[in-house]
């Protein structure tokens, strides 16, 4: 366990870099801003890599810990640290930011430096969420992240961007304020400390646990999002620019799920058990009902957005059956969805950049003119379906398997989601890529350029790697998940 302030560097380098990019402005046609952002994002990714190489997979204790007083009058600390659960998400965040910067190279026409700066700042803030171990610090990152996203959707979004971004902001803000109240309650309950680790240890009465669990649930359910508080997501995705959709789907949605693992389960284990039926029901509704909604979408982005909600249903399902396989599967599913949904949104972005429409009807026969694109998208579609060999399979299979060990019937219902998932994904794929070319515009499409191949290709590699050889990924999370489940199994109600 050593610490050179790697986590601090991973948080602050992109934030400071973002402000630098902002100050560069759009000089030299924005080239300066482009290269500077690329440099900052690659540097951040490079900074986060030692987290993986130096990570000790044998312990569930927090690693790379940094702890100094921040606001002494309130006992708030600048307390960072990671375990096996947070590690992959930090890497995912810094990696996807690099891809977003590259994919925005030529596609953003106005205020490029501000656009890139917003992503860099958000990069730092999101990493902050995944490694904050002080409740207020966590909350600060959690909320601060909304500001750049609000701007990204509002400034660079589609025609209904204002509605979408304000809805996004208010929904998530509403969700999180109650979490703050819960934090303050826990603070006094645990003797003037905001440390999440201390929160995890203190005994809590049954009804207090229920209330705190519900407060957390609202915050995380909005973020994930779970049915019935999911309605902001399709709007936000449809209006957001490609980069915004990628970060939203691949990282932000994971934060809600991460919140369950870091806060809800260990702090309120009894309430988690008691309300597991609710969580499982909501998850199944997402898996079955939201997937059916996805089938009938006419807009590609909306379809993928609904499919995201359905996929996140597996994640929450996995958490609340409390078996090792299911929880690990859920984490793999989160990672896999991070890759696949990012890739799917990037694919839509590729098409949108060329055709300026996301209507499925406007396409057809794209495979004839864009073979490289078609083959890559094929892979991602398979990942979305959960075909063996891709990352989607590992996560969903483990979740369903783990669920079956505990509750057979929910597992069977969840498995039907795999079929619906195949239906909407393959149907989308067929309508967009196959068939004859109906529209003249489609005939004139150019295939992927080098930059796009680089971005999609690297994601394709990860989807296959995680699908074929998930062991290294699982090794990291194994001990932490075991520790978490052990925490959850012990009642915290004082006798």
């Amino acid at each position: 366990m050593y610490s050179f302030g790697i986590l601090s560097a991973a948080i602050w380098v992109p934030i400071v870099g973002g402000f630098l990019v902002l100050s560069l402005g759009d000089r030299a046609g924005g080239n300066l801003a482009r290269w500077a952002s690329l440099l900052v994002s690659v540097a951040t990714f490079a900074i986060t890599l030692p987290l993986l190489t130096g990570f000790d997979t044998q312990t569930a204790a927090m690693q790379f810990v940094e702890r100094i007083p921040w606001i002494p009058s309130f006992h708030i600390e600048y307390f960072l640290g990671i375990d096996g659960i947070s590690l992959w998400f930090i890497l995912l965040t810094s990696f996807l930011t690099v891809l977003v910067v590259i994919s925005s190279w030529r596609n953003v026409s106005s205020r490029l430096s501000q656009y890139l700066a917003a992503f860099l700042i958000m990069d730092g803030l999101m990493i902050g969420v995944f490694c904050a171990l002080d409740a207020i610090l966590f909350y600060v990152f959690w909320e601060a992240m909304l500001i750049p996203m609000f701007l990204i959707i509002g400034v660079w979004g589609g025609p209904r961007r204002v509605y979408a971004t304000i809805k996004f902001f208010l929904y998530t803000f509403l969700g999180s304020v109650l979490m703050l109240v819960a934090f303050l309650y826990l603070y006094f309950h645990c003797g003037d400390s905001f440390s999440l680790l201390a929160f995890q240890r203190i005994p809590l009465g049954a009804s207090a646990q229920i209330w705190i669990f519900l407060a957390f649930l609202i915050a995380f359910a909005v973020k994930i999002p779970m049915w019935p508080v999911h309605t902001w997501l399709p709007d936000a995705h449809v209006e957001a620019p490609t980069g915004g959709s990628v970060i939203l789907a691949a990282v932000m949605l994971k934060m809600g799920a991460y919140g369950f693992l870091r806060l809800s389960l260990p702090i309120t284990p009894d309430a988690s058990h008691q309300l597991a039926w609710l969580m499982i029901t909501l998850s199944l509704i997402a898996i079955v009902y939201i997937a059916l909604i996805a089938v009938v979408q006419k807009d590609m982005k909306k379809l993928i957005a609904y499919s995201s909600i359905a996929h996140m249903g597996y994640v929450t399902l996995g958490f609340f059956v409390f078996t090792q396989t299911a929880v690990e599967g859920a984490i793999i599913q989160m990672l896999s969805h991070g890759f696949v949904s990012a890739a799917m949104f990037l694919c839509v972005g590729v098409l949108y950049d060329r055709m300026h429409t996301r209507e499925i009807e406007a396409y057809g026969g794209v495979a004839n003119v864009m073979p490289i694109f078609a083959s890559l998208m094929m892979l991602f579609a398979m990942g979305n379906v959960g075909l063996p060999g891709t990352s989607g399979f590992v996560g969903e299979f483990m979740v369903v398997l783990g669920t079956y060990q505990a509750y057979p019937w929910p597992a069977i219902i969840a498995a039907t989601g795999l079929i619906t998932g195949a239906a909407y994904t393959l149907w989308l794929f067929k309508r967009v890529l196959f068939g004859g070319i109906v529209h003249a515009q489609v005939a004139a499409l150019n295939d992927l350029n080098g930059r796009e191949i680089l971005v999609l290709g690297s994601l394709a590699g990860l989807v296959l790697l995680l699908g074929v050889w998930p062991a290294p990924f699982l090794d990291v999370v194994h001990v932490s998940v075991a520790h978490l489940l052990q925490q959850v199994s012990v009642s915290k109600i004082p006798s």
């Binding site: 902001f169 208010l170 304020v177």
Partner: protein
């Protein structure tokens, strides 16, 4: 205590401001026609010197003039902030006043007198002295609001403010007289002693507290005593609004602290109930009605109402931490309000007040830096981290939960979400809407620009490292109970 003169060192900042107000008045009479800037510079210097004097006094405590004024850690800290805020007001408004022919000696003199009133409210320790301070502050403000005497709206605002303000003063005075009748003394320490044996069931005490609280709520602008506020804010010249929205909030909080905490803490069960009602109504009216506003100054006026509701949450908690958090909220709110109105002052020019929300259309493109500052200010007002506004709300909620008012805290955070909407709407107009061709901002005053920059960036930086400011404000209220 025998020789009045031996205690005057405890009142140096007040005496200094009084003397300098007279000096500025005289200087302006003699050389004002030719050299108006002299009065401006002199006022600025007086304020800086007052800040230095106050700073030098901190840490001391004692009474001056036979217990009329007192010096304690709170006095120094609160006086320091009102002086600082007055200085900010002065610096923001130079160009604005110049352009509208309001750059006159009276403004500076009235500002200094208003400041003196605020300082006396902060340091007074006797009901009569406090009332004098309140009237000094209020009368200076009435005159300032009606400064543009040919402007119909300003005159109307001034009159409305005057009538309702006088009513509030009368309520307060009546409450004070009841307190006096009940105890037979005017000195607050003696009142506290005399009230020990008066239970909260005493009808006269209840009546006295009700009137005092109503007067304070009036002056703060807490609903349902907020009727004067939107009109006065909108009608007054923006620099005056700047002053009204900042300095009096801290001064009136001090008045509350002196009368109801130092003097009447025994009656906490009475005034807590009243403040709970004020909180509920203020949060609801302030945040909901603000949504319907199209005028930025009016919107910010309603936002003041809402924010006073948040401030009063700390008062409801009523504990050491609660009162400290309310004071911290007052300070932070004043800093945010000064920045928000300062931005309006900065953007305005002759014949264009930049006071409609739609006047900010496309600010993000035409003036990116101003738009960035607006972003910081609005998120700070909405209480979104990492801005200082978040910590102000955090402190208040924390105190509230410590005092077991969880339901009020839940109500408060929900209202914060409602409030976020209208701040976001301002940002929507400024950042997402396309710029309008016909908007020409003033925005050419380097002085206001630099003050605005420092002011707004401070909101952000203080949000990243809030520890020192928090400790400073919380320390001021140590031992207040």
């Amino acid at each position: 205590m025998h020789n009045a003169l031996s205690h005057w060192p405890f009142a140096i900042p007040e005496i200094w401001v009084l003397v300098m107000a007279c000096v500025v008045l005289l200087v302006d009479v003699y050389v004002g026609k030719r050299q108006r800037d002299l009065a401006f510079v002199l006022t600025g210097f007086s304020l800086l010197a007052a800040m230095a004097l106050t700073w030098a006094d901190r840490g001391q405590s004692g009474f001056a003039f036979f217990g009329q004024l007192r010096l304690d850690p709170f006095t120094s800290v609160a006086s320091f902030f009102v002086e600082l805020l007055t200085l900010l007001v002065l610096l923001y408004s130079r160009k604005y006043l110049l352009r509208r022919g309001l750059y006159r000696g009276e403004v500076f003199v009235l500002l200094l007198f208003a400041l003196l009133g605020a300082m006396i409210l902060i340091s007074g320790s006797n009901l009569l002295i406090l009332y004098l301070g309140l009237e000094l502050l209020a009368l200076s403000q009435y005159a300032l609001v009606a400064l543009q005497r040919d402007n119909l709206r300003a005159t109307e605002a001034g009159l409305k403010y005057f009538i309702l303000g006088a009513l509030a003063s009368a309520l307060l005075l009546y409450g004070m007289s009841l307190l006096y009748g009940l105890t037979g003394v005017l000195n607050l320490q003696q009142i506290a002693v005399a009230l020990i044996n008066v239970g909260p069931q005493n009808f006269l005490l209840v009546l006295a507290v009700v009137f005092v609280v109503a007067g304070i709520a009036f002056k703060l602008g807490a609903a349902p005593f907020h009727m004067w506020l939107p009109d006065a804010y909108q009608g007054a010249p923006t620099p005056v609004t700047l002053f009204m929205s900042s300095v009096p909030k801290i001064a009136i909080f001090a008045l509350f602290l002196r009368i109801l905490v130092e003097g009447g803490y025994g009656s906490i069960e009475i005034w807590r109930q009243l403040f709970i009602a004020l909180v509920l109504v203020s949060l609801l009216i302030g945040n909901v009605v603000a949504i319907a506003q199209t005028n930025l100054k009016r919107m910010l006026a309603y936002s003041t109402v809402g924010n006073m509701g948040f401030l009063a949450l700390g008062i409801v908690a009523g504990t050491q931490n609660g009162l400290a958090s309310a004071f911290f909220y007052a300070v932070v709110y004043a800093l945010m309000a000064v920045a928000a109105f300062g931005l309006i002052v900065y953007l305005s020019r002759e014949g264009f007040e930049a006071e409609e929300i739609s006047d900010l259309r496309g600010l993000g493109r035409s003036r990116p830096w101003a738009a960035f500052l607006l972003l910081v200010i609005m998120f700070s007002l909405a209480g979104v981290p990492p801005t200082i506004g978040f910590y102000a709300k955090l402190a208040v909620f924390q105190a509230l939960i410590e005092a077991h008012f969880v339901w009020l805290a839940v109500f408060g955070v929900l209202m914060a979400v409602v409030g976020a909407f209208y701040y976001l709407r301002v940002l929507k107009v400024a950042l997402f809407d396309p710029p309008a061709e016909d908007l020409h901002y003033g925005a050419d005053d380097p002085l206001a620009a630099s003050v605005l920059t420092v002011n707004s960036v401070a909101l952000l930086l203080l949000g990243i490292v809030p520890g020192a400011l928090l400790a400073f404000c919380f320390h001021a209220l140590q031992g207040v109970l």
